[in-house]
Symmetry: C2
Subunit: 232 residues, 2 copies
DNA sequence: CGTTATTTTGATATACTTCAATAGGGGTGG
DNA sequence: CCACCCCTATTGAAGTATATCAAAATAACG
């Protein structure tokens, strides 16, 4: 449920397994029917799920680990649209082609669904269609929030918002895993690695967070963090 | 279809009219059934359609004029998520409450649809549900593109992308209307009014665009504009 | 037409970037 | 098991794009 399985050795290799009836649906939802048409895929660190512009033949759901969505400019400037954590769906927004590349941040397993099957299912079982729409709407809502962040927040506010968002998504725990690098965070928040590092150091210095290690943060003063995040 | 009706006197006042069978559906689409349940609403310049946090009881479609979606931070910093032009839908992404405020940029008319009716229609007529999903997906795709812009593009590139985007949305005409103020553009692109003005002046100086007046641009060198926009 | 709001342009300030050097940390091979 | 090495993160110093402050020039409007 959390991204805590993120740090493992890099030994496994890609494999695909048909899953019959999947156990462990981590949320009680209407998507049980989906489990019957998904296959598990394992990804090594940095391995790509798909590339921007590829025909969108599959949807994915993260099971363990973390995936990042990337877009690049011609000269290499990179933006990470989102980090997908266990339970998150990837590619639901694709109309025909993927609009971003997707790469495993760490050792990751995902379930892969054929788009054709899901779409068929969706339009014969309205609940599923409804659920898909709901997920996409949530994504759009999150995107709007992030645009506000990218457009108008300071570096400190961006980092605070990011940490808070991660904490919320991973079950409101005090301890928050940061499976991604500082560069990844920077590319997600429109900052440089160095600015990310400085902002984290500042928060640590102010006693708002503690850094267990560079990939794990403890939120010491959630109120202060919320203030800095400028919850609008 | 274009935003060219944007400059009119500010004489009309809010009114709501039941429309029977609407003529002038500007695109041949499956949404004809919607026309039967919409009412026309007129808005004066700067008038609000709804506020962030309001319960989302209606969807809207712009008929003439332009609408902006706004989000504010506690200290007044503003972000404009999107400008909605004739044909664009507003509020489809709302789950229960609106996630942004919507205000008329200029004298504007919109069609208002009751969410309940549309949702009912959507789940009994799959084509409509499908179309809604498609519109929301497009919105998400546009949002991702804008995040890349906000995260990684320079001021010049942002302005170029913005102009190009407007040109494409309003029918690829050479002449592009800018119904919004420089401040609006700045709040949309994560810049200040002054930077927007300077970037436009620069493009003009370089012969890429001409400024007919402060609210109307002519694209003189589309290739150059596309280069500056860094079409990834 | 005078009056006010918007835009343009200029001068200075600053948050963040860039460049550079140091310090951890984790894995590998000796 | 330790030492070395590479990769990532941290910290520092200098540079730059954009913001801020300020004033002039247009355009909108009554």
């Amino acid at each position: 449920m959390s991204a805590s399985l993120a740090f493992q050795t890099e030994t496994s290799h890609r494999r695909t397994v048909q899953v019959g009836a999947t156990r462990k649906t981590d949320r009680p939802d209407e998507l049980a029917a989906l489990d019957r048409i998904g296959s598990v895929v394992s990804l090594r660190r940095e391995e790509s799920l798909f590339y921007e512009g590829d025909p969108a033949e599959y949807y994915f759901k993260v099971v363990t680990g973390a995936v990042r969505s990337c877009k690049l400019l011609a000269d290499g400037r990179r933006h990470i649209g989102d980090f997908f954590l266990p339970g998150d769906f990837i590619g639901l927004d694709a109309e025909t082609d993927y609009i971003f590349s997707a790469e495993a941040v760490t050792e990751t397993t995902v379930v892969r669904y054929s788009r054709r099957s899901v779409d068929a299912l969706a339009w014969q079982e309205p609940k599923i269609g409804r659920r898909l729409l709901s997920i996409v709407c949530h994504g759009l809502s999150a995107a709007q929030e992030r645009m506000l962040l990218l457009s108008r927040k300071t570096a400190d506010e961006r980092i605070a918002s990011f940490l808070l968002g991660l904490a919320i998504r991973t079950g409101h725990a005090e301890r928050v895993a940061l499976p991604m690098t500082r560069t990844d965070i920077g590319d997600h928040l429109g900052l440089t690695m160095e600015t990310v590092s400085r902002a984290l150091s500042q928060l640590k210095h102010d006693g708002v967070i503690a850094l267990v290690n560079s990939h794990e943060v403890v939120i010491r003063d959630r109120d202060a963090l919320e203030d800095k995040a400028e919850a609008a």
